[in-house]
């Protein structure tokens, strides 16, 4: 698959096959195309050449992409939270769009320590780590079939990182596929089932290049 952003081929050739309940680690230098690949897998961005199927959805078909977007959980560099709303209001809004079960939302909030007083604090006055926890709570409440995480450990303390690891393990345990883009070479090998190298907009199995 080839994906072009503003005349620049961010992704120039990828050929991969992912299985359910697999945790795949995308590693590679900055600007290698990891983020573009994740966006593409989420049904955002347009694929200009090639064929790709995600969860049975054909990425070259708009209707399929629309459906796919409702099935995946994407956590990018941006937190997608509204700074002026409180943690609780953000959770409520996104959970509502996802038609998430209120019980799941409450459990997710508890899991990331967002219940209680923190729930009434505007996101704008949270630390980077707390914001990330809020975004993760939204993803958890949503129970996606495909998790796409872009540098999920960045900006988190040891406890937060452990939380992310548990989250990844739980998700794949529940049958979901998890794709993680990360620079964290100490940490990821223990978490991932597979390692993929992304360099120059191309993706290959680690060691197979």
């Amino acid at each position: 698959m080839v994906c072009v952003l503003g005349g620049f081929p961010a992704l120039a050739g990828a050929d991969l096959d992912l299985h359910a309940n697999e945790v795949a680690w995308l590693r590679g230098p900055n600007g290698a195309g990891k983020t573009t690949l994740l966006r593409l897998l989420a049904g955002l961005g347009a694929m200009r050449r090639g064929r790709a199927e995600v969860l049975g959805a054909d990425l070259s078909v708009l209707g399929d992409r629309r459906w796919l977007r409702g099935q995946v959980g994407l956590l990018g560099h941006a937190t997608f939270l509204y700074e002026d709303l409180t943690v609780g209001q953000n959770l409520e809004f996104w959970a509502g769009l996802h038609r998430a079960d209120p019980v799941d939302v409450e459990a997710a909030a508890r899991r990331f320590g967002l219940d209680g007083r923190l729930g009434d604090v505007p996101v704008g006055s949270l630390s980077a780590g707390q914001r990330r926890r809020t975004s993760l709570a939204v993803l958890v409440a949503r129970r996606p079939r495909l998790w796409l995480l872009d540098e999920p450990h960045a900006g988190l303390d040891a406890e937060g990182r452990a939380m992310v690891d548990r989250l990844i393990a739980d998700a794949s345990g529940a049958g979901a596929t998890v794709v993680v883009a990360s620079h964290d070479a100490d940490h990821m090998p223990a978490v991932a089932d597979r390692t993929l190298d992304v360099i120059g907009g191309t993706v290959t199995e680690a060691g197979a290049s």
Binding site: A42, G45, R66, W67, T79, L81, L85, W94, L97
Partner: protein, 233 residues
């Protein structure tokens, strides 16, 4: 499916109104802008100036036009604000990944913009009545004019700003797209509002029908064109 789109649009509206309640951007920035415009018009056009042989001041006579120009300029601010809320932290993408239909995003935004414009119109309109000595001849007609113009402006403003959403130069390009295209609406709204205030003389009910047509046109165009504007096809 329509119910899902409408439900998502309603959630977006409720969320944006919540943000407005928390930040007060409209009440503390856009409304004062409208009032400042009223004062400036008073300075620009001498309130004591009378049309020769007429019984109204020049300012009262041209008030409908000044009113809609104020609303049109405020529209640019309000729509810009509506999109800024989403693009601050990548939430436009997140809305799409949440499975929200593009039409729900644009539709929700248009409803929010329309609601905020109505508030502005009520305040500026009341100001015009108090300060410009405007009299309202036919209130019902005026309501129809204001509603249809507001829907047309909100629909078109959201649609045109979505064309440049997320682009460099959107703050300067947006007005170039919106203002010339809105001129027919402005002309119609001014004539029809003048009609509603001071009685027939500038075209009867025809301009009002034209405004209703514009409202429908831009609403439909926004719903149909949303996908092409917000998705990377």
């Amino acid at each position: 499916m329509i119910a899902a789109v409408a439900g998502d649009a309603a959630r977006i509206v409720a969320k944006d109104l919540r943000i407005e309640r928390a930040t007060g951007v409209i009440t503390t920035q856009i409304l004062p802008f409208g009032i400042v415009m009223l004062l400036l018009f008073g300075f620009g056009v001498d309130p004591a100036l009378q049309v020769r042989g007429g019984d109204r001041s020049v300012l009262a006579e041209v008030a409908p036009g000044l009113f809609w120009i104020t609303v049109l300029l405020a529209l640019l601010l309000v729509v810009g604000r509506a999109f800024a809320v989403e693009s601050d932290d990548g939430s436009l993408d997140a809305l799409l990944v949440a499975g929200v239909h593009p039409a729900a995003i644009l539709g929700g935004k248009a409803v929010v913009v329309a609601a905020e414009l109505v508030v502005l119109e009520l305040v500026v309109g009341a100001g015009a009545v108090l300060m410009f000595d405007v009299t309202i001849g036919d209130p019902l007609h005026l309501v129809v004019v204001m509603v249809s113009t507001t829907v047309a402006l909100a629909g078109a403003g959201t649609l045109f700003l979505a064309v440049v959403a997320g682009q460099r130069g959107r703050d300067t390009l947006g007005p170039l797209l919106v203002l010339p295209a809105m001129a027919p609406v402005l002309i119609g709204a001014t004539a029809a509002a003048g009609d509603a205030l001071y009685g027939a003389g500038s075209g009867g009910i025809a301009w009002t029908w034209a405004l209703v047509a514009f409202a429908l046109l831009y609403s439909v165009a926004g719903i149909v064109g949303a996908g092409a504007l917000l998705e990377d096809v």
